[in-house]
Amino acid sequence: MKNFAYISIILMFIISCNDWLELEPPQGLTRNEFWQSKEDVQAAVMGAYDAFARMDGKLFKYGELRADLIKGGNNQPDNERKIAEGNIYPDNELCRWLDFYKIINYCNEVIKFGPEVRSRDKTFSDFLLRSYLAEAYFLRGLSYFYLVRIFKDVPYITEPTYSDEVDVYKPKSNGDSILLQVINDLKMVREWATIDGYKTNKENKGRATKAAIDALLADINLWLFRYEECIKYIENIEKLIKYELMPTGLWLELFYPGAAVETIFEFSYSDMLGEKNSMFGLTGRYSYQYYPSQKSLELFAIDYNSREFTRGEDGSIKKYSKTEYVIWKYIGRIDKTERSGSDQNSAPFIIYRLADIYLMKAEALSQLGRYDEALRYINIVRERAKMPVLNLPESKIVFEDAIIEERAREFAFEGKRWFDLLRMGRRDNYNRKNTLIEILVKNVPATQKRIMTIRLSNPLGWYLPIHKDEIERNPNLIQNPFYKD
């Protein structure tokens, strides 16, 4: 009896506390437990990098599938083949944009909650906070840059979805105005970013630095055809003298071991630590997924006398037999052997490197009619590759073609080609639309050529549709009219 009374008393006592109902989940951290120290802020920033780095395969596909440098193998997924052949419908899995918006949300969390940590962690300096914010703005900006180039107009979201009280039914914003906002953000944070203040070289390449932000600013401005601005940011990078082109013989060191002196920003991987890239799996000899297209073999003039030595065979491409060629950048080592063991999935996915910056600058200069300067930059890149220097007539179109061709050789399979072609096609009010179509049609099966030509004649078809699930879920979204059917 006494025990019973005792238990009852204890129970009553416990029950009278409302705290009794405050139960926190034993797994995972809750928001109250997180955002307490500067380490938490850094972890959140790293989470965004990690998520972005997991997207390398997608970035490759978005940048190459619709262009002409790769061809699919037997194991190419059906939805990717459809994209490559121009049979694009809103149910294609690659039309999902969740992965980009996840990163945007992670960055938005850092931008919103990071500053609050300052009051909780006395050791968290303003300087450090700003450098984290610069990284978050950079990753968010890069995400939007991809989104706008892939989908044109997308929802522009700058608040994290922190609770169910946040309005998630956002309409699309104009792509160009999103990019102008991104430019403003980046301009604000470029001063906060470090130049080379990270602890390791790998971080100086794999995390956002001032040069990375400048490179992104230059790229976005070039996309918007704001050439003067583009040149301005490139000059900022040049002034740093921290970056040099890799010597000719060591060109492949950009990818093996990576974190090269030429690289401005790359996503970094370490197979040993489980940070695996997906490029080895996508382009490996027995992946049967992606192989160099005929166009890229011609580009590197394999089997011809004038072939590319540095960037061609055993550079961008490996020849196993007369019929078997493999994309080599993510597979090979500088000693011409295949990556093995814990090296396999460690090749970086390079976003910006000095050669890229030079050719961007050449493009901007030539568009401004500063042909001499432009030619100089083209030839710097060519000389490094031990290719004969060019001498081009002073014509925007000739320069444009030469630069595009040079970029294809230099950045083949780096997820840039489609966006380069798109820039050309959009330039001067779709002046060279037909050239773009000609280039693209060459890489599809004969049966698809006519359909492809018709489809590509509407520039809205150059962008992917919004996935149908998104349209169904969000009544405020309007599908790209090209796909309305």
Partner: protein, 1075 residues
């Protein structure tokens, strides 16, 4: 609260008064008033002035009794089941002759008119008689001997408004229970209360989908032996369930088990033997017919082709004997099974202590090979009267379950039975060598004509060699203390503890499927352990005001409730186990995955109940409950649930007294609000977890993984009910009818899809929308003959429910799938339509010739293009030809596409009910009951797979009547065989069938041995029963069983026959003895 504590302390301090006694001994004999025979085993019980039991005895074999009274002013009552209780005046020294009169109302029938219960277990302090809410109470005595295995089984077809379907016919599979229509999206699960103890929610361990687990877990909860159950009461409307607050929304099942009775010890033994067998399966093609079909499929698609060796009857092929069999795979995995059940109980009690103890063992055989389940359970119910004021009750229940199922391929939802329907019948079960001698191994080639040996496994081999075992142990025990302060007020405190632990083991050996043992899918062992603990407390103050007259009766209760639920799970998977003999993942194999987790939830509630009865005619019953749940944030933590109901016992009105035919009858009306809470108590938190790899360049990476849910709240069910209870002609006719409306608001959507521009794909829960269930139900019973030797009654019940999605949240993705490929139905929810609707094409038969497959306008004229050529019908880029399936081109555009999709039917039954009759003549009892569900559709998923003729799966005999040559046009003909046909098997009304059925659920014949034999054997009673369940079913449904396939977990896709094992037919022989 402090007051209650004080009261409890006081209660402890009160000493027990001992009354002075004087010895009063009375003697007597009990006889039957009509036959004048002596009655053994009658209860003779002494009651004090407060009507409390003080002492008691039982008459001996000659009907004699002796009892020593504690107090000469006490009264003595004599009672026995089947007789009216009479009160005798104690007269010392005289031999009293007590004549008992057989009673008219038998307790084995559904108890309509309960006696005023002094000690209700439950949260309301009102007697059954005065209840004015929609609830039905059933006594289960008559179920004891039938071949039913669980309470859910016993209830099926018995009570109006209750829809119970077996989850599948596999042993231990459980049932789906839906009370008054589906009021939620995949969350329907009535609260089960056993002896006042609310049962724990199903455990939410790894990947717990309420959907898949609910039915099973609820079923398992109900799996207490039928013999232990005294009654089941079903609370249907919210006026009644609101007292269960946040858990009452789907109705409440109150289960009461037997308790000890005063008197000498009574033993009951019951043995049941059942023979279980499957209804006839769908006839499938034999090996030769299959090969002919395959050759035709190839020919129709490719014209000239190279015949694959497996279907070429090539005598030179070393595998010739393995590929020229005629195997009936379904038959090979089906068996007849036997079930044995033993049940033993002992009960009795004296003045201070009463006990009921039982033990039960069931070994249930499955009708698929290598499946069975064993259950052992035991129960002890103990009541101890510490004093005339203080009662102490203990209940203890332990059960142990072992279930062996076939290995289940969870990655592609593939069961052995499904595979048996698909598997090529020209392949043999056992392997033969090139000379036709058996090798003793199962025939499991790595590749065969159908495909790889893992995807198209040998179902017999997997059933026999694979392992899928589940062991579960459950304990439930409770302690109750009740103190009676005065005659009109008492306090009760109950603490209960429930534990359930389970362990599952899976193993798939490489030799069961055609795969190299290094493949990660085989020699794979998985073990998972789950435990779940619930502690509930209930402190209740009951009162009924002591008015002198009966004009006013006021009673009520105040209750304080706490609930705590904890659990954890561990799961280990490993593969590349070096032998098929070791089936344990913990050996040094390659560990694939280890996971674990835990959870806890808590809830508080305060409930009040007040009843007022005026002149025994006007009844008002009201309930109020406030609940708080740890799963909600502070904004929505407390929920208020309420109910009010009125009753008018018009039969007691003076002006109706003259109506002799009118028995006790009443009209009831009620309104109430109850709730439903989400199953995950942590859903509201924003959580942060490791990023994909957990790091980036040597720095830790963490990402937000869940949205904080500030708006998460109870799903609310409001219900209205109007009902009538009628007793006519001295209780000969009983009618109970109700009309109701149930509105669900703030529906809990699980995994609600949101625009992914938010950075998330879904929100774990979202409250919104409105769902309505309207319906009526009626029960009718007519006791035609009521004599002691001959009795006959019939009963009937039916109910109709209409379910409508009134309001879908603005941004809800009402289209879950727009796929229209072969076998695919677009899934939609439409505002104003019921959930569980089917959409698809309208199938119009077969195009007899190529010329018939042209597009036509609305008037049936062929459409021509600019060049004057007829436009062919097309699907995507396929051009229809003769022999192809013809679908209605709704918009006459010559294309079969999403625009031609129409509503095809729905899975909600219009009518659910049952009827039955029971007949007693002398020592024989005969009863039978029927169950029916009418007006619902089933997507015959088995037919989709077995009549499509577009792949390498085996097909049913129905395909023998198929299109073969141009111009062939026969009624009921199926389309042509055509391998990889893109459109011959689209989701259409071809596979939507009426599921209506009438079923003889139970037929039972009992022989009660006569008194003489019993006396000779020195026992009280002995019965022999022969019964049969599901003996026959009248249905037009072409599948194996129309009862299979009512899984409401996916509201978009309810009512699909997925080839589960149908519930078997069972013939049972049962012997029960009491002594």
């Amino acid at each position: 609260m402090k007051n209650i504590v004080l009261i409890i302390i006081l209660l402890v301090l009160i000493s027990i008064k001992i009354y002075s006694q004087q010895k009063v001994i009375i003697k007597g004999k009990v006889i039957d008033k009509e036959t004048k025979e002596t009655i053994p085993g009658a209860n003779v019980i002494e009651y004090d002035a407060n009507d409390r039991v003080v002492n008691g005895t039982v008459t001996d074999a000659n009907g004699n009794f002796v009892i020593e009274l504690k107090n000469s002013s006490n009264i003595v009552k004599v009672s026995l089941i089947g007789y009216n209780t009479i009160t005798i005046k104690p007269e010392v020294g005289k031999n009293i002759l007590v004549e008992l009169e057989a009673s008219e109302i038998k307790i084995e029938e559904v108890t309509k008119i309960g006696k005023a219960s002094k000690n209700p277990i439950g949260l309301t302090n009102i007697s059954d008689r005065d209840k004015v809410t929609a609830s039905i109470k059933m006594d289960l005595i008559e179920m004891k001997d039938a071949g039913v295995l669980s309470a859910a089984d016993a209830l099926q077809g018995k009570v109006s408004g209750l829809d119970i379907l077996a989850a599948s016919g596999d042993p231990g599979a459980g049932s789906h229970i839906v009370i008054r229509g589906m009021s939620s999206l995949g969350n329907n699960k009535p609260l089960i209360v056993i002896d006042g103890i609310p049962q724990a929610d199903p455990p939410n361990y790894k990947d717990f989908q309420l959907s898949s687990a609910t039915a099973e877990d609820i079923g398992n909860l109900l799996k207490i032996p039928v013999q232990d159950i005294k009654s089941i009461e079903i609370l249907k409307d919210a006026a009644a369930t609101s007292i269960y607050g946040s858990r009452g929304a789907d109705g409440v099942l109150l289960i009461e088990t037997y308790k000890g009775r005063l008197g000498k010890v009574k033993f009951d033994y019951n043995y049941k033997f059942s023979y279980n067998y499957q209804p006839p399966s769908i006839p499938m093609l034999n090996g030769d017919e299959y090969i002919m079909l395959q050759l035709e499929e190839w020919h129709n698609h490719y014209g000239v082709f190279q015949i694959p060796k497996e279907i070429s009857y090539d005598k030179d092929d070393p595998d010739f004997y393995n590929y020229s069999a005629n195997t009936d795979w379904v038959k090979a995995i089906t068996k007849d099974a036997m079930t044995h059940e033993h049940y033993f109980s002992a009960s009795g009690g004296g003045e201070k202590t009463r006990y009921y103890a039982s033990v039960n063992y069931i070994n249930e055989g499955g009708t698929t090979i290598n499946t069975f389940s064993k259950r052992f359970s035991t129960r002890i119910n103990l009541d101890y009267f510490l004093s005339s004021k203080l009662l102490f009750m203990v209940q203890f229940n332990y059960n142990n379950n072992f279930t062996r199922s076939n290995f289940y391929f969870a990655d592609r939802d593939m069961t052995v039975r499904k595979m048996a329907y698909m598997k090529a019948p020209n392949m043999s079960i056992w392997e033969y060598d090139a000379n036709g001698n058996p090798t003793g191994e199962y025939f499991t080639p790595i590749n065969s004509y159908q495909g790889d040996g893992y995807t198209f496994f040998n179902p017999v081999a997997v059933a026999n060699l694979g392992k899928n075992d589940r062991k579960a142990n459950g304990i439930m025990n409770s302690f109750t203390l009740r103190y009676t302060f005065t005659d009109w007020i008492n306090l009760r405190t109950t603490i209960s503890y429930q534990f359930e632990g389970s362990k599952s083991n899976n193993f798939l050996p490489y030799n069961a499927v055609g795969t190299d043992w290094l493949a990660w899918t085989v020699n794979k062992a998985e073990e998972s352990n789950n435990d779940n603990t619930t502690i509930n407390t209930e402190t209740q103050l009951n009162f009924s005001l002591p008015f002198k007259s009966n004009i006013h009766v006021v009673s009520g209760s105040l209750t304080w409730i706490t609930e705590q639920n904890k659990g954890s799970w561990v799961n280990i998977q490993s593969n590349k186990i070096p032998t098929v003999e070791v089936k344990d993942p913990a050996i040094q194999a390659q560990i694939n995955w280890i996971g674990n987790g835990s959870w806890e939830s808590r809830a508080l509630g305060a409930a009040a109940n007040l009843n007022y009865i005026l002149l025994d005619r006007y009844i008002l019953q009201s309930m109020l409950r406030a609940d708080a749940y740890s799963g909600f944030g502070e904004n929505y933590r407390w929920g208020i649930f309420k109910g009010i109901s009125f009753g008018w016992r018009f039969s007691n009105e003076p002006f109706l007294k003259n109506l002799k035919f009118l028995g006790e009858s009443k009209i009831r009306g009620g309104w109430g609000v109850s709730g439903r809470r989400p199953w995950d108590s942590y859903a509201r938190f924003a959580t942060y977890n490791n990023s994909a790899t957990g790091h980036y360049i040597n720095n830790i990476g963490i990402i937000p993984t869940k949205i904080q849910l500030n708006n998460l709240r109870w799903e609310t069910v409001t219900s209205y009910d109007l009902g009538i209870d009628l007793n006519l002609f001295k209780d000969k006719i009983y009618i109970n009818g109700d009309i109701y409306k149930k509105i669900t608001t703030d529906i809990l959507f699980n995994r609600y899809k949101i625009p992914s521009s938010s950075g998330y794909d879904e929100m774990q829960f979202f409250n919104g929308g409105k769902l309505e269930n309207k319906g009526w139900e009626i029960m009718f019973e007519y006791r035609i003959i009521q004599k002691s030797n001959i009795r006959w009654s019939i009963n009937f019940n039916t109910s109709q429910n209409k379910n409508i999605f009134v309001d879908i949240p603005d941004n809800f993705n009402t289209e879950r799938s727009t796929s229209i490929g072969n076998g695919e139905y677009p899934k939609r929810l439409v505002e104003g339509e019921p959930i569980g609707s089917f959409f698809g094409f309208r199938y119009l038969g077969v195009y007899p010739t190529d010329q018939d497959a042209y597009a036509r306008d609305a008037y049936g004229n062929i459409l021509y293009d600019n060049e004057g050529k007829p436009i062919p019908m097309i699907y995507k880029n396929y051009v229809f030809k003769g022999g192809d399936a013809k679908y209605e081109d709704i918009n006459h555009d010559g294309r079969i596409d999403l625009n031609d999709v129409v509503y095809l039917g729905n899975s909600n039954p219009d009518w659910v009910g049952g009827f039955g009759t029971s007949f007693r003549f002398k020592n024989f009892d005969l009863s039978c009951s029927f169950h029916y569900r009418l007006g619902f559709d089933i997507v015959n998923g088995v037919a989709i797979e077995t009549e499509g003729m577009n792949n390498k799966n085996n097909q049913s005999k129905a395909v023998l009547n198929r299109w073969r040559v141009q111009g062939q046009n026969e009624p009921g003909m199926l389309p042509r065989a055509y391998i990889d046909h893109p459109a011959n098997n689209l989701g259409s009304d071809r596979y939507v069938e009426k599921g209506d059925y009438f079923r003889l659920l139970n037929i039972m014949l009992t022989y009660r041995f006569g008194k003489k034999i019993c006396d000779k054997l020195n026992i009280d009673q002995m019965n022999l029963t022969l019964s049969a369940r599901r003996l026959f079913t009248i249905t037009n449904y072409s599948g194996q069983d129309p009862e299979v396939g009512f899984d409401a977990s996916d509201p978009f896709w309810i009512g699909v026959d997925r080839a589960q094992t149908p519930p078997p037919k069972i013939i049972t022989l049962s012997l029960s003895v009491s002594f």
